[in-house]
Symmetry: none
Subunit: 132 residues, 4 copies
DNA sequence: GTGGTCTAGACCACA
DNA sequence: GTGGTCTAGACCACC
């Protein structure tokens, strides 16, 4: 499990960590039951405060993607095979997707190219870590 | 031009306004040269401060989507027909799209459904405000 | 005398008009005693309010570059051959030049190139409309 | 880092602050990575509102000269050694330089003196903060 | 009548 | 302790 954060980015560090874990789950690098790095170790690697890592893990826990236990640390509790998302998530996600896709179109990216890029990104997810 | 904002949302109000305008540009409700509501008038409609609207318009100006002049107010200065976006935008957008699509997959939405939802959203953009 | 204004610029129109006249004086297209276009005619040409032209001429008058009379309209009252500027002007101008030159240097333009560009611009002024 | 602002000037305070920072970068008093004063602290020093300082820093951020982060505050992100400016900047800068130089010439400053003053100002920039 | 600038003060987010 | 967001209200600049 290799994660990267850009300390100079405008995106909050805890958000970057959360995003990288979500991507790792999506492309199969992290499967259900897998352990995430220990908070203090990960914080030391990046030279950041371990509270920041804690916050990232807590966000993932609130979103139901990881389980945090005192002894085992953080483990992935859900992945794409667990079942379809609930209606609330789908609604919220669709609203954010609408904005993101609109941003591409409004900036002049042809709708066909937008769709193709989405397809390519999704291929990257389903291809990794799977046999089927 | 009808915009909506959710005062109770965690998303900053100025960001919501910016998002709504981007979507309106993408689906053709706002075309190049169209005027946005006056900052103070829009603020009064929503019961928010005019500085908040100001910031939303300023963000859109920085992103090259609207032009702000003292006399004219804010007008749309760019749309999907202006030409392809530059490399920096495309790179940044793709990174954000990767995270958003990963979030859907990680929460159990099948890749095919994700792609279908993207297609449906894009259809909504290209269909509106066109004669064809 | 041909002036141009960019109605879409962030620079106020009256300021643009003032700048164009100053440049015309510097490069010799306008000499002492020459008439500036009538305010209403110029306003009609550009499709702008004649008060805006008036303001531009008034700024030039305050700066001692033109004289405005009811009958003759606006005429150039001073040019580069009238004598050296006073200390107040020189001090103010130098402060503004410091900022402008610093902006180029801070953005990575080599000092030698900045100086060369200044020389080229000055050549453009002293070459036109002179025999010497 | 010493900055000065003139409350009585017609130039907006945030613009003055931005200009002083640009000059400090140009003459080497501020190097890449250096921190700018905290917005609220600087505001208190000058007896102005912190929003005004905020705006100055935001303008510098938009121009790519400083980076603003929650924890670190504002730091210089670019200086004259970063590489040449892009074409858009050069074009815009040259237009403003034309006006400024024309103003000196139109007010009777000999072109040779204008050039000499530019050279002297540029010397001030390249001399400071260097070991050579 | 439009946006621009500045002030004052509150509460929140990030690290 | 840093900046970010939002509110409220004043006065100014441009057209």
């Amino acid at each position: 499990m290799i994660l990267t954060v850009d300390i100079t980015s405008d995106v909050p560090i805890y958000q970057q960590l959360r995003d990288r874990v979500v991507e790792a789950i999506a492309d199969g690098r992290l499967a259900v039951g897998d352990s995430l790095p220990a908070t203090r170790a990960l914080a030391a690697d990046f030279g950041i405060n371990f509270h920041t890592v804690n916050k990232a893990y807590d966000v993932l826990r609130q979103q139901g993607l990881v389980r945090v236990q005192r002894k085992t640390g953080a483990t992935v509790s859900k992945d794409q095979s667990t079942g379809p998302p609930d209606a609330a998530f789908t609604e919220d996600w669709t609203a954010r997707a609408r904005t993101l896709l609109a941003e591409a179109v409004a900036n002049g990216m042809p709708a066909a190219e937008v769709q193709e890029r989405c397809r390519a990104l999704l291929d990257g997810f389903v291809d990794k870590g799977r046999t089927s």
